[in-house]
Symmetry: C2
Subunit: 326 residues, 2 copies
C-alpha cells in the first residue's frame, strides 16, 4: 500500500491553494502544464471555488506592448487592493527558445509583490493541449483568490483564439504603423474584440489608425456593446486608467446583460469537446504508433495507391470494430 497516493498531502495542496499560497499555486500549475493526473484532480477539487475572477484576455502581435500594458494594469489593480494573476502564453520557437524572455522583464517590478502571481506557459504543440492547460491554469488562479486573471497571447491564429476564448473580456492591442493586425481584423481572420487598445500612441500614425479601426468596426453588426478604442502609452502609464474604466464598464455590461453567463456556457461546452477531441487524437496516435498495418497503410498513401481520406475511413472502421482485427 506504500505506493498509494497520500490523500493528506493532496488535500493540503488544494487547501493551501484555496488559501492563496503562491507556492501551492505555482506547483499546481506545473502539475497541469506537465499533464500530470494529480493536476487534473486538483482542478477537479478546487473547481467549485472558481468562477469569481474577471478573466481578461489580451491579444495582438508581438511588439505591440502587451507585457508593458499588463504591467501598468497590474499596478493600478494593486492600488485598488485587488489580487492579480498574469498567465502568458509563450509560443515555443523551433529555433529561438526564450526569445520572449525579454518581455517578462517588464513584469519584474511585480515579482516580489505577494498579491501578484506571474506565470508563463509554453506552446507544446499538442492539439488543443495549450488551450486546455491555459484554462486549467486560469481556473487554479481563480480558485487561489486572484480577482483579475490576465491571459496574454501572441498572434491572431486559431490556437490563440482558442486560448482567448476562455476570457470574459477580450482586449486587442495594436500599435500604430503596424498594419497586419488591423488587416486581419478587416479580413475577418479574427473576431471583433470587446476593447481595442492603440498602444505607443505617441506615434504620428495613431489617429490614422484609430480612424481605420473605426471604419472596420462600422462594418460589424450592431450589438449592445460599443467597442471602445483606448489610446495608451503603457511605458509611461498614460491612458491605462481609461483602459481600466473600460474593462470595468465591459464587466458590468456582460454581467447585467447575461452575456457573461452565455459566454461561459458556450466556452465550457467547447472546452469539454476540445478535451474529448484532444484525448481521442492522443489515444489514436498511441494506438497507431505501434500498429504495423497502419505503417503499411501510410506507405500506400505515400505511394499514391491509397488516398488519405480512404485511409482515415479504414482506420476509424477498425477502431469501431476492433474484433475485426483478429
Amino acid at each position: 500500500m506504500s505506493d498509494a497516493p497520500n490523500p493528506t498531502e493532496k488535500r493540503s495542496l488544494a487547501q493551501r491553494l484555496l488559501d492563496g499560497d503562491k507556492r501551492a499555486l505555482a506547483r499546481a500549475i506545473t502539475l497541469v502544464e506537465n499533464d500530470d493526473p494529480a493536476g487534473w484532480e486538483l482542478v477537479r477539487e478546487v473547481y467549485p471555488h472558481t468562477g469569481r475572477a474577471a478573466i481578461v484576455g489580451l491579444t495582438g502581435a508581438p511588439g505591440a506592448g502587451k507585457s508593458t500594458l499588463i504591467s501598468a494594469l497590474t499596478k493600478l489593480r494593486r492600488e485598488q487592493d485587488r489580487q492579480v494573476a498574469v498567465l502568458s502564453i509563450d509560443p515555443s520557437s523551433p529555433f529561438t527558445k526564450g526569445a520572449l524572455l525579454g518581455d517578462r522583464i517588464r513584469l519584474t517590478e511585480h515579482f516580489l509583490d505577494p498579491g501578484v502571481f506571474i506565470r508563463s506557459m509554453a506552446n507544446r504543440g499538442a492539439l488543443g493541449g495549450l488551450s486546455e492547460a491555459a484554462l486549467q491554469g486560469a481556473l487554479l488562479m481563480d480558485a487561489a483568490g486572484k480577482q483579475d486573471v490576465l491571459l496574454e497571447t501572441v498572434g491572431v491564429g486559431q490556437a490563440e483564439i482558442d486560448v482567448i476564448d476562455h476570457a470574459d473580456t477580450v482586449v486587442l492591442v495594436l500599435m500604430p504603423g503596424s498594419g497586419d493586425s488591423i488587416q486581419a481584423l478587416k479580413a475577418g481572420v479574427m473576431e471583433i474584440p470587446d476593447i481595442i487598445v492603440v498602444n505607443k500612441a505617441d506615434h504620428p500614425m495613431t489617429d490614422t489608425m484609430v480612424r481605420e479601426i473605426r471604419s472596420v468596426l462600422s462594418l460589424a453588426p450592431e450589438s449592445g456593446w460599443r467597442v471602445p478604442i483606448v489610446k495608451t502609452e503603457a511605458a509611461f502609464g498614460k491612458g491605462v486608467d481609461e483602459l481600466l474604466e473600460q474593462l470595468d464598464a465591459h464587466r458590468s455590461y456582460i454581467e447585467e446583460e447575461g452575456t457573461l453567463s452565455e459566454r461561459r456556457t458556450r466556452n465550457l461546452r467547447n472546452e469539454v469537446l476540445a478535451i474529448c477531441t484532444a484525448r481521442m487524437r492522443r489515444a489514436l496516435e498511441e494506438r497507431l504508433a505501434a500498429d504495423e498495418r497502419f505503417q503499411a497503410m501510410l506507405d500506400e498513401v505515400v505511394a499514391r495507391k491509397l488516398d488519405p481520406a480512404t485511409a482515415a475511413t479504414r482506420v476509424l472502421a477498425e477502431l469501431d470494430a476492433p474484433d475485426a482485427r483478429a
Copy 2:
C-alpha cells in the same frame, strides 16, 4: 434501382478531370468543398494520378501583396508554357463576408486563359475542415494536370500553418514597415519558410527589413538550404523572375536531398490523423447534440459542480462502453 449512383457519369467526371477539363475541375472542387461524399470518392479515384505538381504555399498578412505576386508568377509560368492553378484560402468573416474579393480582381487577367485555374475556398470553421478541403482541392488540381499549384493563405495562425503544410515549398510574403509578421517569425510563432519575399520593395524601409530578417534567420539552426530573401515589386513585375529562379532552385534541392519525399510522408501522415480527428469530433458532436444527459452534465459544469476535464472523462467512458448506457 433508379436511386443508385450512375457509375458512368461519375467515371466521366473523373475522366474529364484527368483530361484537364476546367469545368470538371471546378465541379469536383465544389463537391469537396461541400463535403459531398461524391467529392471524396472522386479524389480516391484520381489520387494515383497525383504527386506530380509543384505545390507552393504563399503566406503572410493581408495587404502584403500575395495576390499581385501570384498574378505575376502565373504570368511567368504561362510564358514557360506551364499549367497553373491557384487555390486561395479566404478566411470567412463574421461580419465582412467577401472582404477579400478585391484581391481576386488582381487575378482577372488570367480568368480567360484555359491554362490557368483560379479558385477560392472559404474557412468554414470546422475543426481541420478547411485544411482537409484545401488538400483535396490541391490534389484535384494536381490530377487535372496543373504543374504549379499555388496555395494562398492569410495570417500566421495554426489553421493557416495546417494548410501551408500541404506545400512542398513555403514562401512568406512580407512588406516593409509592417512589423507583425517578422515579429511572429522572431517569436517563433511561425516556422522558418523556404523563401522570404519582401514585396513593395520601393518602400524606404526595405533594406532595414531585409537586415532584420537576416538577423532572425541567423538564429535558425543550420540546414542545407539557405533561405533566400527576394525583393519584389509585384505590381510592376519587378523581381518576380528571381523569385521564380529561387522556387525552381528550392524544388531541385528538395528533390535531390530527398526532403520532398520526407516532407510529403510526414504531411500525409498528419493529414490522415487530422481527417480521423475531425471525423471523430463531428461524430461526437452529433451524438451529444441529442443527448439529454450531456446537456445535464454541461449544466453541472456551468454551475461549477463538475469540472470540464472530469466531464470529458465521463463522455469518453460512455463512448467506450456504450452498453453501460442501457
